[in-house]
Symmetry: C2
Subunit: 198 residues, 2 copies
């Protein structure tokens, strides 16, 4: 028995084309690129309206990128953030992106992590989390039920018990552009893959 | 790019041997079997001290089973509960275990879900969650940092917003036996794979 989760062909091709040399210098550049992935995932009908990527925070090099694949991969874990983190970990051959010897890494996500991706962020070892749309946008515009994040979740990531490294949280980066992606999904009639057969 | 997560060979062999006919009638039978998986995962040194399985709640038939694979699979998502849910979903070819036409399914876990597996339970479509050890046991005995579950998390699973189906939570089933598995891991010197290079 094994679990296998793939990215869409268009994203694999795009990642090959970008190559290893490109650098995404600013937070806005990183977010705009991630939003473009989410947007293309809608247009290609290859998953839900979300994109995410792991970057080396200081150098701006890309470690891994993903889009939502819940329906095509037949697994509810296949949120963009979770896949980007897992791809980064398998690429670097570690379950812990904050293991000694690695540069500081950050997760850039088109929308606020749901309860599952919040938990995955907790365990992953990323030390930055940069978010476009808020959960309230995801729920109000696209209809997903994001789950009950603990109150003060950004503070809980920033002030973690030893030995866990702090995760710096940046919210509302290009929020209006991020909301526009969710609006496009709604207008496209995209599937809302909550549990409960909806 | 793809993510691939496998089970240990001993578990694949065991699942083949059990066959499709076996029925686990009582909650205790299901939990004892899951605890044995967690225990064997320690003895074989194939992952962390956790096991989980998805059962058809009424018939007692097994849908999927897993053990923790964080370190061997080099992914922090590879908790036993998450893998059991994903294996069940891919086997049944659906991201939603509560989709119309499926029997009621429950997740039986050797220990209380961490923040990540709580979130995964939220999205998965299981309608029952049966737990052995508590988070306080996992943290105190084995040293994992399970993350900040929201207050009243069992009530939040049981009373979810429409259209999400209720998840019935049963706690402390064979809790002492479940704690003994965690104690065995600690005694074995098993790795505590929190983020932060620990």
């Amino acid at each position: 028995m094994k679990i296998e989760i793939t990215l869409p062909n268009w994203l694999n091709e795009q990642l090959l084309k970008e190559g290893e040399e490109r650098v995404w210098s600013t937070p806005e550049e990183r977010m705009r690129w991630v939003l473009a992935l989410a947007h293309r995932n809608i247009e290609e009908a290859t998953g839900g309206p979300f994109g995410a990527a792991v970057f080396e925070k200081d150098s701006g090099r890309l470690v891994a990128a993903a889009v939502n694949r819940v329906v095509p991969s037949q697994t509810s874990i296949s949120h963009a953030e979770t896949l980007a983190l897992a791809l980064a970990q398998q690429k670097l051959a570690t379950h812990d992106l904050s293991a000694p010897g690695f540069p500081v890494m950050e997760l850039v996500a088109s929308a606020q992590p749901c309860i599952q991706c919040f938990g995955n962020t907790w365990w992953s070892g990323v030390r930055g989390l940069v978010i476009g749309a808020r959960a309230v946008d995801v729920e109000a515009i696209a209809g997903f039920r994001e789950g009950p994040l603990p109150d003060q979740w950004p503070e809980l990531l920033e002030n973690r018990p030893e030995p866990l490294p702090a995760v710096t949280v940046t919210r509302d980066l290009l929020r209006e552009e991020a909301k526009a992606v969710l609006q496009r999904y709604r207008a496209s009639g995209g599937l809302v893959y909550n549990a409960g057969g909806s």
